[in-house]
């Protein structure tokens, strides 16, 4: 697994879309807020809660920016973990 794949491989963007898209859709229409949005929901809510304590004058929509960045970092981690899991599974075959 090279650096390019670690940072921008298909697995990274797959995880990223899975974590971010359900929450974005749900934020436009709450009736579309499915359980798939739960991970993003938890990260955004708790992250913005912490952010609002650090920067109480900021409006809450500001915390979408660190959410998008943070989800990218989490997606890279999940992609690395899923790659390692797949490699281990293949090794035992």
């Amino acid at each position: 697994m090279n650096v390019r794949n670690v940072l921008s491989g298909r697995a990274v963007w797959g995880w990223y879309l899975l974590l971010v898209v359900p929450l974005v859709i749900g934020s436009f229409d709450t009736r579309l807020m499915t359980p798939l949005a739960l991970p993003g929901y938890l990260v955004l809510t708790l992250g913005s809660a912490y952010g609002s304590h650090l920067f109480p004058t900021f409006e809450l929509w500001v915390f979408w920016a660190p959410f998008f960045v943070g989800m990218y970092v989490i997606s890279v981690g999940l992609a690395v973990l899923s790659h390692a899991f797949r490699e281990a599974f293949v090794a035992f075959k």
């Binding site: 934020s27 709450t30 009736r31 809660a49």
Partner: protein, 260 residues
């Protein structure tokens, strides 16, 4: 001065000065969807009052639009003017602060309308006095004030979202808890746990807000309902606000009739 006597005095003063145009006689009771009368007539603050009545029973006053940027409150209240009710009288002032609503700002020409109702004193602006005149005129058994907040109570700094604040009168505290539970069971998705409604601390009359004055001067049940704009679209906030109003009114003996 006894609280009721104080109400009648200040209310009479307010109504005496108010430019009230009454569609019907008496209390302006009517059953259609037309307003019963207006307050602040002929001014930029002119706004309508609706009265729904079906049978003897308690009277409830529901207010929306105290803050002009809180769309869910005044849109829900406007929708509620079309309801039919049974078991009492529902008075609705859906767009309390027309100037603030038109400019989509929290405050109108006189500042924050919901800080103009000091307990034990005359309301501090002409609009606030005429709104208190509506309270005096109908002498409600319960008052609901519909709002929206920015974040989630207890998590986001200075936010009061997803909370029902009851007055410290009668069974308001219990009804606020039951309504919060009902909303959590029926409308809040389980996958949005931070959005569960809570019962807020009891309102005592210690701050110059309408429902505080209802507690302090009238010793009546009242509620401030807050739902949050955080991750909730406007349509959802309106639906949840209407559901809360229906539930709270039901606890006070006024039932929504049909889906009209």
């Amino acid at each position: 001065m006894r609280r009721r006597a104080f109400l009648m005095t200040t209310g009479a003063l307010s109504v005496g000065r108010a430019s009230v145009s009454v569609a019907d006689s008496g209390k302006g009771v009517q059953s259609g969807s037309d307003p019963a009368y207006t307050i602040r007539s002929g001014t930029k603050q002119e706004t309508e009052v609706f009265v729904k009545n079906d049978g003897d029973g308690p009277t409830a006053l529901l207010v929306g639009g105290m803050h002009g940027d809180e769309k869910s409150g005044y849109r829900a209240a406007t929708a509620i003017t079309k309801w039919r009710v049974s078991g009492g009288t529902l008075v609705v002032l859906p767009r309390a602060n027309q100037v603030a609503i038109r400019s989509n700002r929290r405050e109108g020409t006189d500042g924050d309308l919901n800080r103009k109702f000091p307990t034990g004193e005359k309301p501090e602006s002409e609009l606030a006095r005429e709104i208190w005149g509506v309270v005096s005129r109908h002498d409600p058994d319960v008052v609901l004030d519909l709002h929206r907040s920015i974040g989630i109570y207890g998590y986001h700094e200075s936010s009061v979202g997803q909370v029902i604040w009851p007055t410290n009168v009668g069974r308001a505290n219990e009804y606020a808890r039951l309504t919060a539970e009902q909303l959590n069971d029926t409308v809040v998705p389980w996958s949005m746990p931070f959005h569960e409604f809570r019962r807020g601390g009891e309102i005592t009359g210690s701050r110059p807000m309408l429902v505080h004055k209802v507690a302090g001067d009238l010793d009546r049940p009242g509620y401030i309902f807050e739902t949050t704009a955080f991750l909730l679209d406007l349509g959802t906030r309106v639906r949840w606000t209407k559901r809360a109003a229906e539930e709270l009114l039901s606890h006070h003996g006024i039932e929504r009739r049909g889906n009209s």
